[in-house]
Symmetry: C2
Subunit: 186 residues, 2 copies
């Protein structure tokens, strides 16, 4: 029990952390095994040994849980703002699983598939639980606004959307998500 670990879970975790950071910053293609190893302070061949391949490494660090709040338990008029605040808070904490996917999706089909899977399994059911009609369309519209915000914030870095916790952004994007959730067509 008190003996040292035989398998180095710590090394594995160091590699994963470095990979997450680099995938989120440079996308899939421009992140190299060598760079990940360099940032983790170990040899490139260790990355292969622990994760099998670059694809395996990406798969290991790109699946995550959005940990959405229980929307059905919230007052109806607070849902939009709560959703936006949830994402901004996660991003602020440096939890960048979604950014990894967002950056990689442009050139990587596996990243797109994983993003669709996360949408289908974690977002759509929550929306369907509270929307009265057209839940699928509403969920996709919400995804478009949230992902667009992430894109402008982390990729484009537009100044007014990139602050640590812009209250005006929560307010306005929250209202918009609220409309996508419950608003009538006209």
């Amino acid at each position: 029990m008190a003996a040292a670990r035989i398998r180095s879970d710590e090394t594995r975790e160091r590699i994963a952390r470095a990979a997450r950071r680099l995938f989120a910053e440079h996308g899939y293609e421009r992140t190299t095994i060598r760079a990940v190893a360099g940032e983790a302070g170990i040899d490139p061949s260790m990355v292969m040994r622990y994760f099998g391949s670059k694809e395996g490494l990406f798969a290991a660090v790109s699946s995550f849980d959005l940990r959405l709040p229980d929307l059905a338990a919230l007052p109806r008029e607070a849902v939009g703002r709560a959703l936006v605040r949830h994402f901004l808070t996660r991003w602020e904490q440096g939890d960048d699983g979604l950014v990894v996917l967002l950056r990689a999706a442009s050139s990587n089909e596996e990243a797109r598939a994983r993003m669709r899977e996360i949408f289908a399994s974690q977002v759509l059911p929550r929306i369907a639980g509270i929307a009265e009609d057209e839940a699928a369309l509403r969920a996709e519209l919400i995804a478009s606004q949230i992902l667009g915000l992430a894109f402008c914030r982390f990729v484009l870095r537009l100044p007014h959307l990139s602050g640590p916790d812009a209250e005006a952004v929560v307010e306005r994007v929250g209202s918009v998500v609220q409309f996508h959730l419950f608003g009538a067509a006209r």
Copy 2:
């Protein structure tokens, strides 16, 4: 006058067209000079000869004019829908300059710079011309919704947002853009 061209502008245009299509479909890194040449039906070295480098080729095909309508001439309540319809119509016509930038921006700083430049020179002034206050914030919020829509439509291909001209999408995203333009904070 009636003599044949010495320089082949047609070849140049064929290369550019192929490059636009491939950059829009695969992003910057996964688009190779070889593939562009193959699609254009010429030799890879010709691409270098005409555009100097891969970066030069990208620069040549990634600058474009959004051709935004004159928002100030529209009835105030029609601006949001008009903007969304404008983008959907352009996309439908296969005019994919924005998609080229969107896909390349994830891993290419030049693409990001160009996108910010297009935003600053073509979008922001128009918005500033009709918004009463906080034009910069409002313009960025609109960009986030439009770019998010493009991302979900062309990259993720979410089914309800990918149709040729979903009237429901124009309607709903139009309302949202309208809110970003004129809506009060609370």
